[in-house]
């Protein structure tokens, strides 16, 4: 991997304690939000076992919220699964960047793979060297996996005590989680500098077109399908952008 041209000089070495502190900060705060997932999933009609299975086995928050949200809205389970898989696909690209950075032995890869998500990637990729990146990835992965699964269980168990989740406003948690993730993705692109000029940045227009497509198709298509229509905004924007570049 080549150094970014925006970087000035080699970064200073980072003490292990600082890496652990950053990693634990991310792992614990995001891990706590598993509670919201547990409650949301129960509210969508999934059992405690199904809810916990999602956090243990899927372990990528956006896909989990997407799946239970679609099932809760009455979507067919397989259409709901397709939306969740679309969201999970981005983890392949985190894995790609992490495999070069962490240089994991082949035997460790199947284990480490389950932790390749937004937060562990963000922490690992922010570290100045391989040792710090490995430490940051591991500490974030362990703390987030433990926290996310324990709080998922608590949320799923507590949901029955809470009664109707919408009375507590918990049906707004999913969209808020997605918005936070969306903003961090758009900001992430910004700091890399390759999309600096707003006019050439495809993210805002893609998000807008996707939202319009989703809402416009909601009354006419079966539940679960509008999100797949929304995803078409991505190739559509790329094709239009390329055509416009070819013309200019």
């Amino acid at each position: 991997m080549t150094a970014s041209s925006t970087q000035t000089g080699p970064p200073p070495p980072k003490p292990r304690a600082a890496v652990v502190r950053d990693a634990l900060g991310v792992g614990i705060t995001v891990g706590l939000s598993g509670f919201v997932f547990g409650v949301t999933s129960s509210g969508a009609g999934l059992s405690v076992a199904q809810t916990c299975a999602l956090s243990l086995l899927v372990f990528t928050g956006a896909s989990q919220f997407a799946l239970v949200g679609a099932i809760g809205a009455g979507g067919a389970p397989f259409a709901a699964a397709a939306g969740a898989l679309f969201l999970g696909a981005r983890n392949a690209f985190y894995g790609l960047r992490l495999s070069q950075l962490l240089a994991l032995p082949a035997a460790v890869r199947p284990l480490a793979a389950q932790w390749v998500i937004d937060e562990t990637s963000a922490v690992a990729l922010a570290q100045p060297d391989r040792a710090a990146a490995r430490l940051g990835f591991t500490v974030t992965g362990v703390s987030l996996y433990l926290g996310w699964n324990i709080t998922t269980l608590l949320g799923a168990l507590g949901a029955s005590a809470l009664g109707d989740p919408s009375a507590w406003g918990l049906d707004a948690a999913g969209p808020a989680v997605f918005l936070a993730l969306l903003v961090s993705m758009v900001r992430g692109g910004d700091s890399r500098g390759s999309w600096r000029r707003i006019r050439e940045r495809p993210e805002p227009v893609t998000a807008f077109v996707a939202a319009v497509l989703a809402l416009a198709s909601l009354p006419f298509l079966p539940a679960g399908v509008p999100i797949l229509v929304a995803a078409l905004a991505a190739p559509a924007v790329l094709v239009v952008n390329r055509r416009r570049r070819d013309l200019s």
Partner: protein, 101 residues
């Protein structure tokens, strides 16, 4: 059916994670693939936000969730931590719902 969907999502999500760690970089580093991979989650997230905020069955409504989402957006503009953003959305939605009955 729900268990089948869970199994499918679990297997699929694990497979893409492992794929990223395992394949040679050249396979996924084509510019078109990379750009699409960056934009598909953005489109999906934006679609989900719209549907879960304004969708009620198969009709569109503006209700307390819209106020909650606005609160989350305000918290994000103020660079609030993740949990504060979610809490703002939940609390404002609950408050608006309690006030408007």
């Amino acid at each position: 059916m729900i268990w089948a969907a869970i199994a499918l999502v679990a297997a699929g999500c694990y497979a893409v994670k492992l794929l990223g760690l395992s394949v040679p970089a050249a396979v996924l580093e084509r510019p078109m693939v990379r750009r699409l991979a960056a934009l598909v989650p953005i489109a999906t997230l934006a679609g989900l936000i719209a549907l879960q905020t304004f969708g009620e069955g198969r009709t569109l409504v503006v209700d307390a969730r819209a106020a909650g989402l606005a609160a989350a957006a305000a918290a994000l503009l103020l660079r609030a931590p993740f949990l504060v953003v979610v809490a703002a959305a939940v609390l404002v939605t609950a408050a608006v719902r309690a006030l408007t009955g």
